[in-house]
């Protein structure tokens, strides 16, 4: 009797079935995440300094206020925004362009499609170390290549310069993340019914017009999803890349927010302050970014 009441295989009512199917995932994901989210939130409202425990206690928004005056934090907000913005724009443009190329018919297309996943498949630690060595001031492959090609006269310490460090961090991030966009856009392109494209050709539309009116709308949804994910990843989930290559330097020019949080939490043992940083970053950066992208998508579709 009980089995009959609760047998998903025969359950048909959408509401009961829906909730039954969704429940396990909800429990698994939030069973684990709820405590850390709450714990961090409570900590962010406290002065929780492990090395000086006598001063610990509830201070309300004190951490958040202090953050708005923290020169290093404000710097890292700017750095993170620049990093994220540039990374995502490049990833999207390159991703779409490469996908368009790979969508054409040519020999070796299959192999190329398989090779494109390599950067994304490398463990991030290996990726970061590899680039760190390539960019090495004295022995790195980049310097070697440029000087052997005659473009450079003498080796340059690329990541000693704050602007170049940022550029290179962005480029290495783009190298790693673009394949994700390529694959998703490529899939979307292949979903465009061929009869639509042929119709446009017969109408005499040029390649560019074809792109804007036929191709773009159909992949806009996917581009938006990619952009969203890339923004989330680049704003708050990139860590190893900067940790290994520049450690946030030179003089905090690549000091993205996760590095800041790492330093305050793991090194400074100021758990409250670190938690506040995380929440402030999430609220102040991520949520607006998400809304912005969704609204940009809606306007392009109309």
């Amino acid at each position: 009797m009980a089995i009959r009441l609760f047998n998903p295989l025969t359950m048909d009512e959408p509401r009961k079935l829906g909730i039954t199917l969704v429940m396990p995932s909800l429990i698994i994901v939030f069973g684990f995440l709820l405590f850390p989210f709450l714990y961090s939130f409570v900590l962010s409202l406290m002065n929780y300094d492990l090395a000086r425990p006598r001063g610990n206690g509830f201070i309300g928004l004190g951490n958040y206020i202090h953050l708005t005056q923290d020169m290093y934090f404000l710097n890292s907000v700017v750095v993170t925004l620049v990093f994220s913005f540039c990374s995502v724009i490049l990833e999207i443009i390159l991703g779409v362009a490469i996908a368009l190329v790979m969508n054409q018919d040519f020999k070796g297309r299959g192999i190329l499609r398989a090779l494109i996943i390599i950067p994304w498949a490398l463990p991030s630690i290996v990726n970061a170390s590899m680039w760190s060595w390539i960019l090495n001031a004295n022995y790195g492959a980049l310097n070697a290549l440029l000087s052997q090609l005659g473009i450079l006269h003498g080796y340059r310490p690329w990541i000693a310069d704050p602007s170049w460090a940022m550029v290179l961090i962005i480029l290495t991030n783009v190298w790693k993340e673009t394949p994700f966009t390529v694959i998703m856009v490529l899939a979307a392109l292949q979903g465009i019914p061929t009869h639509l494209r042929e119709a446009a050709v017969m109408d005499g539309a040029g390649a560019v017009r074809r792109f804007i009116h036929v191709v773009l709308p159909m992949i806009a949804q996917i581009v938006m999803i990619c952009a969203l994910l890339q923004v989330i990843w680049s704003l708050l989930h990139t860590f190893e890349l900067v940790y290994v290559i520049t450690r946030g330097g030179p003089f905090n020019s690549t000091d993205i927010i996760p590095m800041r949080i790492y330093w305050q939490t793991f090194k400074g043992l100021r758990f409250g302050y670190g938690a506040a940083m995380a929440y402030l970053a999430a609220i102040a950066l991520l949520i607006p970014a998400v809304f912005y992208i969704r609204s940009a998508y809606k306007t392009t579709v109309e």
Partner: protein
């Protein structure tokens, strides 16, 4: 004539572009492979010799060398962590795919109270920087005695991979025409029956693509794995990250380890690249 000329230049442009793309992707990876068979003194050479003068497999050998050391029990650390990676990745993949598929179906096809809320929560779970929640997560795992265990790590992986699976499969299910499913139900099948008999077979490519993404995400995961495991349950990325000392990184060993560790995801992608593309086709468009 003009048309043929245009076509010709177009094709030249295409092949050049394809070549550039291939170089862009492969060059750093090729350098990684070259480094892994070099000696330190080769890499320090100026001007750099692109082919090492004394190629050696010593870096690879040293990866497996400590099998006889005082600490391991017969299996080298590298082999053990490879095994751990395989177990953790496949088990989290299995659970994510199983629950993810059902959840995705529910979110794609069924209306139930809280559906929008659930989708928002899904997005929200990605919003916190992992670095801020690793320590509370550590406390949880510690109290459940799941630290340094493959189960604990699999659990943590599932929390951030499951939403991804739901996302991908939802889009894919949305693109399958409703009529097919309704036809099956008219014939007397239940909803889940229709899912199992009609929808899933049509979505094998989608399942495969979700699987590959699952695999790569879990296989390469570093930060949680690092903090939550120790000598017993350590996965490959963690071991690779440990080739550092107080004064610097053992780059050669890391390169060799990196080549070995990246081989499974790359091979997997190579084998399934056809499905990957076709799978996301349906999945992504209606997403």
């Amino acid at each position: 004539m003009r048309f043929v000329f245009k076509r010709f230049t177009f094709r030249v442009f295409l092949y050049v572009a394809a070549l550039l793309i291939a170089v862009w992707v492969l060059a750093p990876y090729a350098w990684l492979i070259i480094s892994s068979i070099s000696t330190k003194i080769d890499l320090l050479n100026v001007p750099l010799k692109w082919i090492p003068s004394r190629p050696t497999l010593e870096n690879y050998r040293s990866l497996f060398a400590d099998g006889q050391s005082a600490l391991s029990q017969g299996m080298s650390f590298f082999s053990r962590s490879m095994l751990n990676s395989i177990i953790v990745t496949f088990s989290s993949m299995g659970i994510c795919m199983f629950f993810g598929v059902f959840t995705a179906y529910a979110v794609a096809r069924l209306t139930f109270p809280g559906r929008k809320f659930y989708l928002m929560m899904l997005m929200g779970s990605y919003m916190m920087p992992p670095i801020a929640i690793v320590i509370p997560g550590y406390i949880i795992l510690k109290s459940l005695h799941l630290l340094d265990s493959r189960i604990g790590l699999a659990l943590v992986n599932i929390t951030f991979i499951l939403p991804l699976v739901v996302w991908i499969m939802r889009g894919f299910f949305l693109s399958i025409p409703l009529e097919l499913e309704e036809a099956a139900r008219i014939d007397g099948s239940s909803r889940l029956g229709a899912l199992l008999r009609i929808i899933l077979p049509l979505s094998v490519p989608g399942l495969v693509s979700a699987g590959v993404f699952c695999f790569i995400a879990s296989w390469n995961e570093y930060f949680y794995a690092f903090l939550y495991t120790s000598m017993r349950a350590r996965t490959l990325p963690v071991l690779i990250g440990e080739f550092t000392t107080k004064v610097g990184t053992d780059y050669l060993k890391m390169a060799a380890a990196g080549v070995v560790a990246s081989a499974p995801p790359v091979l997997l992608a190579l084998i399934f690249q056809r499905f990957l593309v076709r799978g996301l086709t349906e999945g992504a468009v209606k997403g």
